[in-house]
């Protein structure tokens, strides 16, 4: 699912930390960033900052229930 624009990334990362499973950000170039890793978050945040808040990719949760946990940050329904 895609990330909403203009979200509070600090709260987003905090929500990811409290997810049960891993949460990935997958780009159309086949990058796969595990957002539980600080290094991956750095890469993700760099992309966000340089693409002016827009990121071309989707969030994939390994545990289905985690989508519910992140629903405030994601577009659409799962």
């Amino acid at each position: 699912m895609k990330l909403k624009q203009g979200i509070d990334y600090g709260k987003f990362f905090a929500a990811v930390t409290s997810c049960q499973g891993d949460v990935y950000f997958e780009t159309i170039e086949n990058d796969r960033l595990n957002l539980k890793s600080i290094l991956s978050r750095f890469v993700f945040a760099s992309a966000v900052s340089q693409q002016l808040g827009k990121v071309n990719g989707v969030i994939v949760c390994m545990v289905k229930e985690d989508y519910q946990h992140l629903q405030n940050f994601l577009e659409g329904e799962k």
């Binding site: 990334y9 930390t17 600080i38 890469v43 945040a45 900052s49 002016l52 808040g53």
Partner: protein, 391 residues
């Protein structure tokens, strides 16, 4: 605050963030506010800040697992948290940025994403730890109108993801020869009066030498180890028994090697310096005692963690037990037994602050018959229990 922020930006590409008491962003002077705020919150600084402000009002220097840092300064009114001002994000030395760049290049990323990360990395400011501390003190003054010292600063390092990989200077011994010599003089003379003020001014000036190739944690530890060696030699020159100085050196070396965070290293460094200065001060204060009584005091100091019998002390000095007791009392004003107990309590205070030994272990080590007796003796001497003291 605006003037402060603009002045800082004359030197560094550093932004000021204004959060409320719940660490919700209110405003910032960063043009890409919502994006760069993400870097302040890569790891769980929010919880650390909220926890810190419950009991402290002095600045907090935060480091995450990739050594990205920021400074948080607190505005309180009548003891209640109002706002948090954050300066950052930044790195404190080139090792961190180089190490991070290497890690980024090793990641299996598309060229576009990797290049974005690396180029963004290069825009983040690199500031010396000494300058960070100055900014923290200045920002605290700008917010509260209170003057603080570097020893009032607090540290938080988020280590839950990675092993210790901090960087920067704790004690600087390169390009600050005069300050170093002054510090060694203070140790050699046991000058506790000037110790604190010099500690605040001296320690973080200049640029340290390169004591490690690319490993920032090793760099920092090596700096502290150098200082321990220098200070122990100065303390010996000041009259501390070489054997005690060497024992302390071993003790602090082991503690430094076991360290996993900048916060711990800073604490050890401060404790070590104060310890050597205090010991020399006490020795010099005892200069009025006769040589045998000074030797008796030093013997006690060396054997605090063993049983010390009056007979043993008397034999050591070549006196009868009766004569030693009388002589000790007349020169020092204390009974031997009381003096030994007082020294053991001092050692207990040291162990409580600087080690993670349990009460039981400290009590046994210092030859108390039981933990409850140790607790009671400590409480009588200090007015609080060992547990309370440790807090």
């Amino acid at each position: 605050m605006q003037i402060f922020s603009e002045m800082v930006r004359c030197c560094h590409n550093l932004y000021l963030w204004h959060y409320d008491a719940e660490f919700r962003l209110l405003s910032s002077d960063c043009p890409a506010e919502s994006q760069i705020d993400a870097f302040i919150n890569l790891s769980n600084f929010r919880d650390a800040v909220l926890e810190h402000q419950k009991n402290h009002h002095t600045p907090l220097i935060l480091t995450n697992q990739i050594n990205l840092m920021c400074v948080a300064v607190f505005h309180t009114e009548e003891g209640k948290a109002q706002n948090v001002y954050v300066l950052g994000p930044f790195f404190i030395d080139d090792y961190s940025t180089r190490a991070l760049e290497i890690r980024l290049r090793q990641l299996n990323l598309s060229l576009a994403l990797r290049d974005q990360a690396v180029s963004f990395l290069k825009t983040l400011p690199v500031i010396s730890l000494s300058r960070v501390m100055e900014y923290a003190i200045m920002l605290h003054f700008a917010v509260t109108r209170q003057t603080i010292a570097t020893s009032d600063l607090n540290y938080y390092e988020d280590t839950c993801d990675a092993s210790f990989n901090s960087a920067g200077t704790i004690v600087d011994s390169h390009g600050t020869y005069e300050a170093e010599q002054e510090m060694l003089r203070i140790v050699r003379e046991g000058d506790i009066e000037h110790f604190k003020q010099h500690m605040d001014k001296m320690v973080f000036v200049g640029k340290p030498g390169k004591l490690s190739n690319g490993n920032s944690s090793r760099q920092m530890k090596n700096l502290v180890l150098v200082c321990i060696t220098l200070f122990s030699r100065a303390a010996i020159e000041g009259g501390l028994l070489p054997e005690i100085a060497m024992t302390l050196t071993d003790y602090y070396f082991q503690n430094v090697e076991a360290c996993n965070s900048i916060a711990e290293l800073t604490k050890i460094s401060h404790s070590m310096q104060e310890d050597f200065v205090q010991r020399v001060y006490k020795i010099r204060r005892n200069q009025n005692f006769s040589k045998p009584i000074r030797a008796c005091c030093e013997y006690i100091e060396m054997h605090l963690e063993e049983p010390i019998a009056l007979k043993e002390l008397a034999d050591f000095l070549g006196y009868s037990e009766y004569y030693l007791s009388k002589k000790f009392k007349s020169e020092t004003g204390s009974f031997l037994k009381d003096y030994i107990r007082e020294k053991r309590i001092e050692r207990a205070k040291f162990l409580l602050k600087n080690t993670s030994l349990t009460m039981q272990e400290i009590s046994a080590r210092l030859q108390f018959n039981s933990q409850s007796y140790f607790t009671e003796t400590f409480r009588k001497a200090e007015g609080i229990t060992p547990t309370e003291y440790r807090k």
